[in-house]
Symmetry: C2
């Protein structure tokens, strides 16, 4: 069976019609899952909050398990994800893509909280280097994570992609072994590298993130030979935000 | 001869009276050398611009030699040091301790200049992790350097301490071999480590920079056995800004 998937709104129903499971693995940390899903639904995607694996909820689970009270350096719109946690007298710092909240004052404040700890705990919601928005390329959370790591001589615990536990948790929630899953994303490290480390296959699509292919819309082909109909496709959210309907050709037996 | 030096104003004349040469090696990048010297003169130090080795002039020499046009991410007060350089159509980024200029917009702009180059050139006026001001600890240039290094997958060329060429240039300007020089500073990496890599001896004093000794004013002793009267003492500027007259006991034959 050849399954042609046009990644533009109809993608979800197309995949589901082909009998494939679907999951969205995103490093989105500028919005709650609810807002993220609403945005995609607005673009015509058949998607629910339960189908999304995102760093903030994963971080919340870790914080609760270890009794950590976070100082947050995150985007304002992500704060509600941490509503249930005690944030008084913080004993760790959680950093996400805070965007405009990456001010000199906020960075110094997060640094002071960290350096004031006997053993600094820094949790980062991803390790991306940069990303592209309509007004140009922007430094991603990974760059600011490195700044704090260096200043405090500490290694951050990365919760989002490409961390292995993040992909494993997505697979576990779907009940599918890694060898039956395909990751489709645009980031060679976060999407492709992270998935491959878990034993998954991965397809890299090209979006505006890559300088050499800014204008390029490619047809990406991959073979689904040896995959069962129960296989899942895991999409990076970036792979969905394509300017003009990048086509993904999925070939299965 | 025992030479007692109270590092409080009289230090320069005391050293000079003892027949020792003197140099100030500073990573100060929040002011021009003129302003830096004026500040120290105001504190009673007998010091001239010609006695100061600082990163910005060193960077200017490198930029001129290599025909580089800098995009500056530095403190406003440091900009005059780069007045003579062509800054149109930049082909490198120079980063200093920009303090309040470390905004989200300015960091993204510096990043875009770098990532737009075929082979990004990042020159950093130091690699300090953090420093202390009256209103608390602050991230130093090294942290922001690491952020840009990571985002652009590039290694910065560090011009200030602890770079070996920086100390070598100070020694060359004085015409003194490293084994006859003593570095006195408060930073174990930038001052002590850098000087030792050049074959100099080094003395670490303790200032408010170190959390465990914030309130501590220590007497630091070192022996000047085997040093000739022409030996030089190289001071880190931080070693001069001591709250209550840290004493430095210099023992010579």
């Amino acid at each position: 069976m050849v399954c042609m998937l046009s990644i533009k709104g109809q993608v979800c129903s197309g995949i589901k019609a082909a009998g494939l499971k679907l999951r969205f693995c995103t490093n989105e940390t500028q919005a709650t899952r609810e807002e993220f899903v609403k945005k995609l639904q607005g673009l015509g995607f058949d998607i629910s909050v339960a189908e999304v694996t995102a760093p903030a909820p994963a971080a919340c689970r870790i914080l609760k398990e270890r009794g950590l009270r976070p100082h947050l350096l995150v985007h304002n719109d992500l704060v509600p994800e941490f509503a249930e946690l005690d944030k008084a007298n913080p004993n760790c710092v959680v950093i996400g893509d805070a965007a405009e909240n990456f001010t000199y004052a906020n960075l110094n404040e997060a640094f002071r909280v960290l350096i004031g700890m006997e053993k600094p705990v820094l949790i980062s919601l991803g390790r991306g280097r940069y990303y592209k928005e309509t007004d140009g390329l922007k430094l991603d959370v990974g760059a600011y994570m490195k700044a704090l790591e260096y200043a405090c001589d500490v290694e951050a615990e990365v919760v989002g992609k490409p961390a292995k536990p993040f992909f494993e948790s997505a697979l576990a929630e779907m009940g599918v072994p890694p060898e039956q899953a395909v990751m489709i994303g645009d980031d060679i490290v976060n999407d492709v590298g992270g998935a491959q480390q878990c034993g998954m296959r991965a397809v890299q699509v090209r979006t505006g993130k890559y300088r050499s292919v800014i204008e390029c819309v490619e047809v990406v082909s991959f073979s689904m030979t040896n995959f069962t109909p129960a296989s899942i496709l895991i999409f990076s959210s970036n792979a969905l935000y394509l300017p003009s309907g990048l086509k993904c050709r999925a070939l299965s037996q």
